[in-house]
Each structure stands twice: as C-alpha cells, then as structure tokens.
C-alpha cells in the first residue's frame, strides 16, 4: 500500500467546492492550488481573483505568490481596493489559508503564543481579515493539522469565522456569510447551522476520529453519518502535480 498524499487529499477535496463558472477569490499560498486545480479539472470557466487586483489570470502552473507573472494574460489588473472592496463582495466563494482555526472557524495567521511575547510571528492578515469579513462565503485550508493548531480559541483572531457563536457576526456588522468548511490534511470540517461550531464531516483515508480529536482543543463533534474523504485517483494526482512542476507549493 502506497503512502497517502494527504496534502493532495485536502487540496482536491477543497477544490470540489468550486463549480463551473464560479468566481473564486483566492488568498495567498495554497488556496491558489485549490482554485487552479478546480479550474483545470471540473470547474471550467471558473475565474480566479486575488487581492492584488488580478482578474482571471490564465495560469498554467503555480508560481510564487508575489511574482508579477501572476498578472500575465489576465483580463484586468485593477487596484487592491477594487479587488477587496468591490470584486470580492460578489465572488461566489473565497479560499483562505490559516495557521490556526478554532471552534467557531476563527483563524489566526498572525502570531502563535502571547501577542506581546509570541513564540512565532507568522505573517499577519494581508487581505485575509477582509476576505473573511466580506466574502459571501469562504473555506479555510490548513495544512499540517497538529496539536495546538485547532485550539478552542485562536491565539490571535486575525480573520473572523463565527466569532463567539450564533449572531456574533451580525452583531459586529460583518456583511459576509462566514466560513462554510475547513479542509486540513486529516479531515473536512463543516459548521453546525445553529451552534456555528465546527464538526467533523469527513475523515481522510486512514485517519480516525480519535486522531482528529487528539489535535483539537475542545471535544469536537462528528457528523452522525461520518464520511470518508475520497482518495484522489492517479489521474487527479497527476493533474495536481502537473500544476506545480517547480514544487512551489507541493513537495
């Protein structure tokens, strides 16, 4: 039996959320692989957008996030305010990366540990806070799910999920719909429609509920009918890897 490429399982599972013709607002990093893969597999005519104002780039392979080649052959290069303030609000779905995700889908990409004396300074919001606040709907990608990465409450709330639970987004006047799923390298999580809490919807091949619970900082529920995330087919894996020949995002 070959080793499962859990990163691929995660990316391909997330890509299934994207449909034909969708406008996909992609955060920096791995989300780009999710959107590119979706576009090249099933989500034909889907359109990528990012916070630097790149509209519908025609990418054939992954490149570094800040590389201006990103903008080549795009339909338009508009401003960051156009992108985050205007285009985002009407995009179908946004895809965001995160370093920590908590019980209510709040995510952290700023610091691990005490804000004033952190053990790790990661990156910060970039446009992530804006995307999580304003997008109609978004999904989170978190690679390398390990203990501490799914605490009950994130060390620093960079990007809002459902904050403290039901109605909290509304109370803060956040116009976006909030998160709808979290994809990690162990499982797929969704949000309970009433409590807004994360629950396990689908376990990746070979992963048990106990494995997942070991990593989470609260007693996480599972769907009554817990699913098994499909193993990517060799064809799917080939396509995914072909999109990153220089190993920018994949090993």
């Amino acid at each position: 039996m070959t080793r499962v490429d859990y990163k691929a399982v995660m990316l391909i599972a997330a890509a299934r959320r994207i449909s034909k013709g969708n406008e996909v607002f992609v955060g920096m990093g791995l989300p780009i692989m999710v959107a590119m893969y979706a576009q090249k597999s099933h989500a034909t005519h889907s359109v990528l957008l990012n916070e630097y104002g790149i509209v519908d780039p025609m990418m054939h392979e992954a490149i570094e996030v800040a590389d201006p080649a990103f903008g080549e052959r795009s339909a338009q290069l508009c401003s960051m305010i156009d992108a985050l303030g205007w285009l985002l609000r009407r995009a179908d779905i946004a895809v965001l990366g995160a370093a920590q995700v908590d019980r209510y889908g709040n995510s952290n990409s700023t610091v691990i540990g005490d804000y004033r004396k952190p053990s790790l300074r990661i990156a910060g919001s970039g446009g992530a806070n804006d995307i999580a606040s304003l997008a109609r709907s978004f999904v989170l990608i978190m690679d390398k799910q390990r203990p501490g990465k799914m605490p009950e409450r994130v060390d620093y709330l960079t990007s809002p999920g459902f904050l403290d639970g039901p109605q909290a987004r509304e109370r803060c006047g956040l116009p976006g719909g909030g998160p709808e799923a979290v994809y990690t390298d162990k499982a797929v999580y969704k949000f309970h429609p009433v409590t807004k809490e994360l629950f396990v919807q689908s376990l990746h091949p070979g992963i048990t509920l106990a494995d997942v619970r070991k990593d989470t900082g609260w007693k996480i529920s599972a769907a009554p009918k817990l699913l098994r995330t499909p193993l990517p087919t060799p064809g799917e894996l080939r396509l995914l890897r072909s999109l990153d020949p220089n190993h920018v995002y994949l090993d």
């Binding site: 630097y52 300074r121 806070n129």
Partner: protein
Amino acid sequence: MGKFLPLEKAVKNIVVDGATIAFAGSGGRASYSFAYELIRQHIQHLTFCSAGTGAVILDLLAGAGVVDRAEIAFTLTNSRNVRRIIEGHRSRRLAIEDYSNLAMSFRFMAAALDLPFMPIRSLRGSDIERRRGFVGDHKIKEVMSPFLSERVALVPPCSPDVVVMHAQEVDEDGNVRVVGPVGSDDWTLKAGKKVIITAEKLIDSKITRKDPNNSFFPGIRVDAVVIVPWGAHPSALPRFYRSDYEFLKELNQRSDSDRSFRKWLDEWVYGTKDHASYVAKLGKTRLQTLKSVTSFKSG
C-alpha cells in the same frame, strides 16, 4: 529635469531619521536600490507603512536597524530578521501595528483625499481591532452611522513622509508608467508627503503624451526621480527582468542570525558604494539569465 537626482542625494535630501516611509510596488517594482541606500546612509528610526507591499524590504530594513516601527498588514512567514526580533521580544527594535490590506489601502486613500477617516466593514470582531500597539487609541474607531442605526468602524488616514516606488518608465517631466499588477500602489503614492520614483528607463514625454490613459502617476506630484537600472533587483520588473529567487533565497538563509545577516550586509550593501557597484557585483552572466520573457505588451 530639476527633480532628477542621484540616488545618494535623493536619500540625503528627503529622508530624515524618524520619518514614516512606504515602498509601493505590487507587481515587483520594489525599490530595493532605495532601501540599500537607506542602509548605506545609516538612516534610523523609520516607521514603515504598507498596503500589501515591501515585505522583504521591511525584513531587510528591520534587520539593518533602519526601521523600528511598522504599520502593516503582513510580514512573511520567512521574514527571518523580523521574526528574530519579534520572537526575541525586542519590541523596541521593532514594534508592529497590525492592520489588514484593505484597511491600509483605505488609510492611504483617506490621506490622499484629505478625509478625516474611511469607513470600513472588515476588522470588526477581530484582534486587529482589539489589540493596540503604538498607534493606540487612534488605531480604529467606531461611530454610529446617522443613515442607518449601525455601528461602523473607521480607520484614520496614513500619510507617509516619503513614498518610494521603482517604475518601468519615467519621462523627463517625471510622469510615471508601469506594467503589471498594481495593488494599492496608486493610493500609496498619492498618500505620500514626498514621492520619490526610481525608474529603470527614461522615456521621451512625447511617448507619454500619446497615451495619457496609460500614465500611472503624474509628474507634477513627483518630488524626485532617480534613474536606476536594475533598481528593483532582486524583485521582478515585468518587461525587464524576473525575480532573482536564488538571490532572495541566499539573502533569506543568511538572515538566520544577526551576525550572519550583518555579513550579508557588509558584502552586498555596505560593500558596494552605490547601486551601479551592486549591479556590477551581480555580474553580467547572472543579469543575463534574469532578463525576462513576458507576455506584457511593450510601449
């Protein structure tokens, strides 16, 4: 042509210790040449402001002791100098005030348009709103909208003393033309009390005036222009050169301790008297491999 200066003079005449500074340049176009000159001249205590640009430059300037405060939306996970300082809890060497990219873009817009604030619908409910650093109470405020009874977050203007950007082309009147992603470069430039353009190439204003829709920034609001070939290296400059990933990788690796980063600076910045020497040190062979093929239209 009175605003055309050598790089050394542009830094000397315009940047003072303690100033606020922003580096525009979203699609490459980061003026590393200007950043190096700040280091050479031992400029200190700068506050670095950014709406999505210059993360590597911040790491350089923080590591070199030029910048000690930053109002920004992000650093990079591999910003080794920044991380070494922050994770070493040396907040006096670098204090960060965290915003989001839209918030910083709006702050630049508010400054450019001389508005007292910009309303914003993100930030609410997050630790960006709750946690205050050196900007303190003025970081984000709230007001009740008199139109609909809803609480609205407001961000204050941010007007850097100096904004710098590297451009593909500038004409003799200082009009600026760029190619590639633009992000918030326009509002960053407009927010600047002084604007300095380092440019790859001087072009004739007849070319600019044939296509004024394509001017990115007007020369009448540019305070200094410096023609600096390879002025964005190691960042990319669409239509001229691609990113020098090897150089960036080496810089990053050598940023793993104060001592090792200091040696890198000695070699590449203090050890080169100006940008021309830096380019000479890169060598023709290396430069040749960086010259890029691009789909972007020329002229």
